[in-house]
């Protein structure tokens, strides 16, 4: 029998997060006016109550975790390299945030489409490439010309 289970780890994570919220985040990032007469009307009351409840739930998870039969680790992935692919996907998302205002939404979306299709090893690369061009263009046409949304155009190539 293993000594630590996933339920326990989730409970410990909940305890850690709520401790950080109670001890650091609420005192620093929730402002309360000095003239609040009763604590129940204070802007800090609700966050403290919710964090306190999270502590209780975290404790419950830790306690019940001792009796859990659930493994801490997941079943091994059939296709190796999952963490590497996830890290790359994270990088794609970060780059997207930087590229959106500079390249524009349409061109960035085309690149994201191709990158994601490559990452998930699309078995239809030609179809993926065609869709990578057509899908962002079709969405641009709808949102910009039908829904009148100001889709970011970027600094280089602008669409009508």
């Amino acid at each position: 029998m293993q000594s630590i289970h996933r339920q326990t780890v989730i409970g410990l994570a909940a305890l850690l997060v709520s401790a950080i919220i109670i001890l650091i985040v609420i005192p620093t990032w929730v402002s309360s006016p000095s003239n609040v007469r009763n604590i129940v009307l204070s802007p800090v009351f609700w966050p403290y109550i919710l964090s306190g409840m999270t502590v209780l739930i975290g404790l419950g998870l830790v306690v019940t975790g001792f009796y859990s039969s659930e493994n801490l680790t997941h079943e091994p992935n059939d296709i190796p390299g999952g963490y590497r692919r996830l890290a790359l996907m994270g990088a794609i998302m970060v780059i997207t945030m930087f590229a959106l205002p500079r390249l524009g939404m349409v061109w960035t979306s085309m690149l994201i489409f191709v990158a994601t299709a490559a990452l998930i090893r699309s078995s239809h690369p030609k179809t993926a490439l065609i869709c990578a061009v057509l899908v962002p263009l079709a969405l641009y046409a709808f949102f910009a010309h039908v829904a009148s949304v100001a889709i970011p155009q970027g600094d280089y190539v602008r669409l009508p």
């Binding site: 919710l50 994601t116 179809t127």
Partner: protein, 500 residues
């Protein structure tokens, strides 16, 4: 206004081509999306929502309701043909649907699924029309203390019934409530968790959180394990369902519909338990119960009636009380808000035309479902063949456009990505996302009503116990809590025994 006046007002609102076209399109999109393995009705409604911003409120909501109804039925197609339920609600359909497909009777199973779905849908819609108005007129007596206790009860039940672990459901709900406190304080206007960023002053965008929680984790799961969908698509066969077979299963369909209506009108329970309960009841009452699980037509009828019976009924708490019955109605409540409408009892006074317009649209949607469903059954092969390596990058791009379109703000796209990772971690650890989203929506309402009640009473908590309605909801909350804790203790004891 009397009932006929209300119907006339509703008809004047939806009696046009645009509204019916939106409904038709919605059912079509929902059926296709529900039938695609890897997509779900929730994801389909979430991804359709941004396309409705430029529409009239009634047209937008009809489109989304169409997607919801189509999605629930669409999920049964892959459940029967490739043993992969398109939506969790169709899991019970697999039990008899797939064995029928193996015997070469897929056409019959799908035909029965369609007829049972449409019948249950109609019954559910009629229940909505009958009960929503009555419940709303009762809820007009509610003040902030009553709403506070009602929302508290809803949250308890939602956290308790979702997923395998009630503590994880409760944790998910708590995180949703905490996230809902981000932004300016509603009474004093001071900053809460804004970290000095003006983008956070209005709180986190609901659609960014929603799409982040329900669509991005699916993309990340595909990245984690890029597998094509498995399972051989069975052919439809030459046999279709006959009227005699429909008549034989009619009792189970009606029973399943009522089970769906009852469970659907309780916030948080959802379609999957209704489908399984309806299936087990049909099996218990059947003279050929040994055939269940081996390809019994009545099993397909009962499970489909159970899950479709929920669809209209979940709108009862939504329209009458402003409380979402499940995660899809939580998205639809967001659509109401985007269009400046607040579901709840006051809507039956201020926007009665929209309410009755929706009722009319829902009835018509059952007819559209029948029409589109019969075509979709034949066209499934093409839908199932959409390569996942093209589908998921497309979903990602769609998410980016959709989330940006809400406020024309790139910051929301970042919120969606972050919530996507949160959702993925939750998914990997079996922490249900539905309580998170529902709590995120109900959080501000819960806090607002609590603080209003405190202001009304001069900070005396006695107001939260001021009358029979508040006592009723406190009692229900207590009962639910006791039931949940007992179930938790029993489950822990069972595990303890197993480990010894």
């Amino acid at each position: 206004m009397n009932f006929l006046d209300n119907i006339a007002a509703g008809l004047s609102l939806v009696g046009n081509l645009e509204a019916f076209a939106a409904l038709f399109l919605g059912v079509l999109i929902g059926t296709i999306a529900g039938a695609i393995p890897g997509m779900s009705a929730t994801m389909a409604v979430a991804l359709t929502l941004p396309f409705t911003f430029s529409m009239e409120a009634i047209t937008a909501i009809l489109l989304l309701l169409g997607v919801y109804k189509g999605g629930i039925f669409g999920g049964s197609i892959p459940a029967i043909l490739i043993k992969t339920p398109g939506t969790p609600a169709s899991s019970a359909t697999v039990l008899d649907g797939y064995p029928m497909a193996e015997k070469g009777q897929a056409g019959k199973a799908l035909g029965m699924a369609l007829w049972a779905s449409c019948t249950a849908d109609l019954i559910s819609n009629l229940a909505l029309i009958l009960f929503a108005g009555w419940l709303a007129s009762f809820a007009l007596n509610f003040g902030p203390p009553e709403f506070f206790t009602l929302i508290l009860f809803s949250l308890t039940i939602i956290a308790g019934v979702s997923g395998n672990s009630l503590l994880r459901g409760a944790l998910s709900a708590m995180l949703g409530l905490l996230l809902a406190t981000v932004g300016l304080d509603l009474v004093y206007g001071t900053n809460r968790f804004t970290f000095g960023d003006p983008n956070l002053m209005g709180g986190l965008n609901f659609i960014a959180v929603l799409i982040g929680l329900f669509a991005i984790p699916e993309v990340l799961s595909m990245v984690w394990e890029p597998k094509p969908h498995v399972g051989k698509t069975r052919s439809l066969g030459k046999n279709s369902v006959t009227f005699a077979e429909y008549r034989r299963c009619f009792k189970s369909i009606v029973r399943g519909s009522f089970i769906g209506v009852f469970l659907g009108s309780i916030p948080g329970i959802g379609a999957a338990p209704a489908a399984f309960l309806s299936y087990s009841e049909a099996r218990r009452k059947s003279p050929v119960k040994e055939n269940f699980g081996k390809g019994e037509l009545e099993g397909v009828a009962a499970s489909e009636a159970g899950n479709n019976g929920v669809a209209g009924a979940t709108l009862i708490p939504l329209l009458a009380l402003g409380i979402p019955g499940d995660v899809i109605t939580a998205i639809i409540i967001g659509a109401f808000m985007v269009h400046g409408l607040q579901p709840g009892p006051m809507m039956f006074i201020l926007n009665v035309d929209i309410i009755y317009g929706l009722f009319i649209g829902l009835i018509v949607s059952s007819v559209f479902l029948l029409m589109i469903g019969s075509v979709a059954i034949r066209g499934f092969k093409y839908v199932a063949d959409i390569p996942r390596g093209v589908l998921f990058p497309g979903v990602l791009v769609l998410c980016i456009y959709g989330v940006f379109a809400v406020n024309n703000n790139i910051f929301d796209v970042g919120v969606m990505f972050v919530m996507g990772w949160v959702g993925f971690v939750m998914l990997r650890n079996d922490i249900p996302a539905a309580p998170f989203l529902i709590a995120f929506i109900l959080g501000p309402l819960l806090e607002n009503n609590f603080r209003q009640a405190m202001l009304m009473s001069g900070n005396s908590p006695d107001i939260l116990f001021r009358g029979p309605i508040t006592w009723f909801f406190w009692a229900l909350t207590l009962l639910t809590m006791v039931a949940i804790v007992r179930a938790g203790i029993r489950a822990t004891k069972d595990l303890k025994k197993k480990n010894i």
